[in-house]
Symmetry: C2
Amino acid sequence: MADPVEIERKFLVARMPDLGDARRSSLRQGYVTRPEDSVEVRLRQTDDGHVLCLKSGEGIVRGEREVTLSAAQFDALWPQTEGRRIEKTRWTGPLDDGLVYELDVFAGDLAPLVMVEVEFPSEEAAARFVPPAWFGRDISDDKRFRNKALAIAGAPQPDDDADG
Amino acid sequence: MADPVEIERKFLVARMPDLGDARRSSLRQGYVTRPEDSVEVRLRQTDDGHVLCLKSGEGIVRGEREVTLSAAQFDALWPQTEGRRIEKTRWTGPLDDGLVYELDVFAGDLAPLVMVEVEFPSEEAAARFVPPAWFGRDISDDKRFRNKALAIAGAPQPDDDADG
């Protein structure tokens, strides 16, 4: 569900970088509903707070509604997302050419998965990007590594994502 | 979803009674989810406040979770229940023998439906109950008049509930 104007590439991580220059944030996201349900009900906790999001894509009522929750409200509802969660720490740090990396270290059921994303100002910049040595396989086009797929299906098996 | 120990009878209403002795309360209830979804997400507003309720009946996570919402949170989510709502005013008043009636006057899509319920201390009391003249047809066993059925399927057509 990336914003259509974002130009990103996503990679696995061969080894952890020095995080001395990186800024830390954390995210928990879980789905109350299942993918086949008529509506998506998502809980999301970031450093900015807690949010409940309803999303529906069919019928007369369409669109997205979001409300801020208190920590207590969030905690009361969170157990309902068991088995459909993403929990990660994001490290945001600098690369060459003014680029920025976002390194996601997953916790919970998805550990020890680690991924890194880079956003580019143009398709040309994305195409000519030379990944640092600590980057692993390019998974930009691998739908299994999207947030929702990870939450529902879990991390791809090691056999599946062996670097070619 | 009545509590199993409740012994109730439910009727249509032939004519409105004198409500001078009755206490008024109001209820709005709407379903974010559809009956075939894996979880039930319900919004409910009573004179006591606003509540979000999650209910799931299968898998590892089971049961019911409820949180109190602010009016603003409720109002932000309520549009998502369009087409799956009950809105009613309940009048609670006295009958003979210490019994109490609960007269539900529906608004919104379910208007002009009116139903009345009586709760009894025993099955014997329920069986020997003689309805007042203002009561209509007994719909105790008619599933179409249950709250959830009304919310999802709407009020039964006049042809369907013509009194025999």
